[in-house]
Every structure is written in C-alpha cells, then in structure tokens.
C-alpha cells in the first residue's frame, strides 16, 4: 500500500461530504499529492480501488488537470504567471532571467532536483504583476533581483 492510513482516513471523510463517492476524487488526488508530491501509477490503482473505478478513469482525471502530476518533480514548484496582464508588466522578461539564473528552461527541473520552473496562466494577481507562485504561496510585485533572491533562498 502506498497511500498511508492517515490519508485513507482523510479520503473517507471527504467521501462522506458528497452524495456520490466519486465526488471526492479531486479532493483525494490533492491529498495523495500532498503526501507523495505526485500521483504515482500505484496510487492511481489504489484510488481506483477506493472509488470503485478503473485505474484508467483515475488516470484520465489526473491528466486533465494541470495541478496534478504523475511523476516526481523538484522539491520546489516555481510557477511564473505569463498571461497577458503579467506579460504587459514584464513577466516574460522575468521568466527569461530566471531560466538563465537556474540554467534550465520552463518545464524543466534543476539537476539537483531543487526547483521545477514552469509558466502558468492567470493566477488572479493581475494588479500585482509580475508575480510567481512557489508551492501554494504567492509572491507579488516582483522585480528580477527579488525573484532570484527568492529562488536562491529555497533549500
């Protein structure tokens, strides 16, 4: 079993909130990803068991949503918003500077597994552009130097 007892219990609590078991599939995927950092094929199989679905049905859902990942990523997920309001205020330039600072392209992970860098669509921070998201936390109104310092501070 790859999904822990605690997470299973939390998933059962989520299931109780919905009129049909499957309603709790997204919450369950969030919980599993919180535990493992990604949703492995083994956890998809176990989730399929919990939800009385085929593994491929769980996989389809994982692949549909940008926030679910089926393979391990860097320890820190850095997402730069590059949608129009942020681009108007220099987000693309910021992204380029971060790419060269880390020596990787958007969509890649540093060789030491420290940081995965990605671009993201509008995050609802349009008045505070440019901005990036590290894990769940927003960092807004950034210039390139501040952003690099933020990344340098990640362990």
């Amino acid at each position: 079993m790859v999904i822990s007892e605690d997470t299973r219990a939390a998933i059962e609590r989520e299931i109780g909130k919905y009129p049909q078991r499957r309603g709790a599939l997204l919450p369950a995927l969030h919980l599993v990803q919180q535990e493992h950092g990604f949703v492995s094929p083994d956890s998809m199989r176990e989730l399929a068991g919990i939800f009385e679905l085929l593994p491929v049905e769980v996989m389809e859902v994982v692949h549909f949503y940008n926030m679910f990942h089926d393979r391990p990523r860097g320890r820190h997920q850095v997402h730069v918003c590059t949608n129009l309001p942020c681009s108007l205020r220099g987000a693309r330039g910021l992204m380029r500077q971060l790419e060269s600072h880390l020596g990787i392209h958007a969509g890649e992970t540093t060789a030491d597994g420290r940081i995965s860098l990605g671009h993201e669509e509008c995050l609802g921070a349009c008045a505070y552009a440019p901005m990036l998201r590290i894990g769940e936390t927003y960092h807004e109104n950034l210039d390139a130097e501040q952003a690099k310092r933020l990344l340098d501070g990640l362990e």
């Binding site: 969030h30 549909f64 940008n66 926030m67 129009l84 309001p85 669509e121 509008c122 936390t137 927003y138």
Partner: protein, 431 residues
C-alpha cells in the same frame, strides 16, 4: 500575502480594511447575518421576487438575472436540491472574487444561506480554483466558525432550516469555470462541459436540480435583503443596477480593485481611479471585462461600463477585469498571448474549438514573426467566425471574440507586420 483592499469602496467592500471582518465576530459586529435572519422570516417566493425586482445580474460573466435563475428551481419537493458557488475565477484579468473570499468570507456564506433558503437547497458546494490556497483557507475557517456558531448545520440561525456547505478545490483547468464543466469536475470527472439542455435547474450537481452563481453575485444578496430593491437600484444604471468590483491591470499608474456603480465610464476608471498610463505615454486599447471580451480602442473609453452600453460597442462587461495597454503595445503580440491561452485550455470536445483555437494561435504567431501573408488576416476572421455559436459551451465564442476585437480596431497593426515582414513595435512588451 493577500490582496490590498480596494481603493474605491462601496457596500461590498467598505469594511475590507478591517482584518476582523474576515472573522465571525468582526462580521457580526458590522451587522453580519442580520440579513440572513430576516430572509429566514420571509417566504422563499417573496425573496425570489425581491431579488428579481432588484435587477441583480450574475457577476460571473454572462450577466443573467439572478432572481429569474433562482425561480427556475423546481418547488415540488421531490429531489434534493443543491446550490453551487462558482469560485473558480480564472478569467485572465479577474481577481475580484479572490478579495471577497479573502476579506469577506462570511459575506459569501451569508449570500449563500439566503440563496439556499430561497431555492430550498439543502447543500452548497463552493468550487474554489486550486491555485487559490489562501482564499480557500480563509473560507474554510469561516465555514468552521459558522458551523460552531449554529449558522450552518441542522438548525440554521435557530430556525428549522438545515444547510451544509462543502468546499471543493479545483486543480488548474480554466474550463471548470464554465458552469457545467464545473459540475462535471465536482462529480470527480474531467471538467468537460455538458450539452444544454438540460440546464442545471433540472439536471445539475450529481443529477439533482442545482443553481450555479458566482461569488460576487452571492455577496450582493445580503445587501439587497437588508436594504431593499429600490436602494439597490440607486446604484448603477436602470438596466444594470448595483456596483461591481473592477479589477484594473496592465499599463496604469495604480492597478488595483475599485468598487464602483455599473455604468461608470471606462475613462473614469482608467484615468481617475487607476490614474492613467505611466511614463507619459497614452492609451492604445483597453480590454473592458476580462480577456474573453473584445478590446476597445482609446477613442471609445467614454463607454459606460454596463452591458447595454458595451454591447453597442460590440463588447461586454464580462467579469469587470479592465486591462490597459499603452501606445507601445503590439496588438499582434497581445493576440499571441490570448490565443495561446485558449488553445491550451480548450477541453477538446468540439472540433471547431479544438482545431480553431490551434489555428488562431498558429496564424497569430506567424504574423508576429513576420511570416504572415495578407490572406492570413482573412483566415483569422474566417476561423473565428466559424467558432462562434457552434459548440457545446461558450468557451469557443470567448476564444473568437478577442481576436475579432483586435482585428476590428487594430487591423493596421496586423497589416504592418505583413508589409514589413517583422514586428514594427520594438518597444512593445516582451513575448
């Protein structure tokens, strides 16, 4: 972390500067939940009538009458009924729902409770976009407080009405903001919109009669109940009453949130409130209502921000996300960013949308690179025209409209790219 409070405030946002307003005690100290108490003493029919009379229109983008939508819910008492609060807010340029969730989560809950009573719903699902971790935490804390205080649960505010609220977090898919894509996602599936009819009031969440409303829509409701429909109609225009929270972004001195009456002239928002364009530059164009809405040129900023006026200019209020672009802006680059987004977010069910969004982006890029031909301009319009009104959901229209808007007002930008075989705007924002 968290948004700064709006610069101009009215009834929705007047207490946002007060951190305590996000807590139950702080909200109650400002009269919170009194409107819900009052609503529970009013018949559902009278409440729906009140909301109809107020003229409140949904603030999620389509602008449909809220009272009318509520009246579509069956009253025969057969099946369980659900309310759904759309907190997916992923229309680029929109960030008003975020501040309502962060600064006034109990106002959202109070609006929901009143809607639940009016429609006879036993449960509300609040679907919060996955990236909104902090807003979702604020909301969860408010829900927990409300249960502990008997505001939610078996006996809402001491009455015989029972209501539960469940918060579900999305996972990064723009299409889950479309109400039936949202319902699919809520049921644990890919967020692919449903064919309509049946509409949610007949066949909604988990197959039960449901009503979907936007976060801000719910927030107006307690104020209408407390002050009456005449009071509400004192704000805004005759056809579009009330205020809305405009989110202003892009090339302005003071980007931010501004709660203003509907019908406020766009130029007042851009030049007075957001203080105009920095660096002594002038405005080139403004997207008035989030990225799906067609752009307006600088010559049309006199338009009052209400649908009846915006429609005359072939655009719409959408979500009230105002995006300002200065004179350096290359409108083909803007088109590249916009079409990339729609290509990426199409759910792929309809051929016109899946293929059309891909084509639009490909041609935009080609023109921007200087490899476009004069025919490409017509092909853009042709593809966009074929996407409109043909698909399962309005996403394809939302992808076509901004391209049509750019071509309507900035065709010269496109022609210059083709003529010069390069981008003629070296000063424009980077792509």
């Amino acid at each position: 972390m968290g948004l700064t409070v709006p610069y101009v405030t009215s009834y929705l946002s007047e207490h946002f500067a007060d951190d305590a307003y996000a807590t139950l005690d702080g909200y109650r100290a400002r009269g919170g939940y009194e409107a819900a108490q009052q609503a529970l003493r009013t018949s559902p029919e009278d409440l729906i009538e009140l909301v109809k009379e107020s003229g409140l229109q949904g603030r999620g983008g389509a602008g449909f009458s809220t009272g009318l939508k509520w009246s579509f819910m069956p009253t025969d008492g057969g099946k369980p009924k659900y309310l759904v609060c759309n907190a997916d807010e992923s229309e680029p340029g929109s960030f008003k729902d975020r501040i309502l969730l962060e600064r006034a989560p109990h106002k959202v809950l109070e609006g929901i409770l009143i809607g639940a009573w009016a429609t006879g719903s036993e449960k509300t699902f609040i679907y919060v976009r996955g990236e909104y971790a902090f807003p979702a935490r604020q909301l969860q804390r408010a829900v927990d407080e409300a249960y502990a205080a008997g505001i939610l649960g078996a006996k809402v505010l001491g009455s015989d009405f029972a209501h539960d609220v469940v918060i579900m977090r999305g996972a990064g898919a723009y299409i889950c903001g479309e109400e039936t894509g949202l319902l699919e996602s809520l049921e644990g599936r890919k967020g692919q919109p449903r064919k309509k009819p049946p509409f949610p009031a007949q066949y909604g969440a988990f197959g039960m009669p449901s009503t979907v409303n936007n976060v801000e829509t719910f927030c107006h409701v307690p104020h209408i109940v407390a002050n009456g429909s005449e009071w509400f109609r004192g704000f805004g225009t005759e056809k579009s009453p009330g205020t809305t929270i405009f989110g202003v972004s892009g090339h302005v001195v003071r980007p931010g949130l501004y709660e203003l009456p509907l019908g406020t002239p766009l130029e007042e928002i851009v030049f007075e409130h957001a203080q105009g364009v920095p660096n002594g530059r002038t405005v080139k164009g403004v997207i008035p209502g989030g990225m799906s809405m067609p752009i307006l040129p600088a010559s049309q900023l006199d338009v009052p921000m209400a649908n009846e006026h915006l429609r005359e200019r072939k655009t719409m209020l959408g979500t009230g996300g105002v995006m300002v672009m200065d004179e350096t802006t290359c409108m083909v680059r803007a088109g590249c960013v916009i079409t990339y987004f729609f290509r990426d977010e199409s759910c792929g069910q309809c051929t016109q949308c899946r293929e059309g969004t891909g084509w639009l982006h490909k041609i935009m890029e080609r023109i921007e690179r200087g490899a476009g031909t004069p025919d490409d301009l017509d092909i853009l319009l042709d593809v966009a025209g074929k996407m409109e009104g043909q698909t399962i959901c309005a996403f394809a229209d939302a992808a076509a409209w901004p391209v049509q808007g750019l071509m309507r007002h900035f065709r010269e930008d496109f022609e210059e790219h083709v003529r010069q075989r390069k981008c003629p705007f070296p000063e424009s924002f980077e792509l």
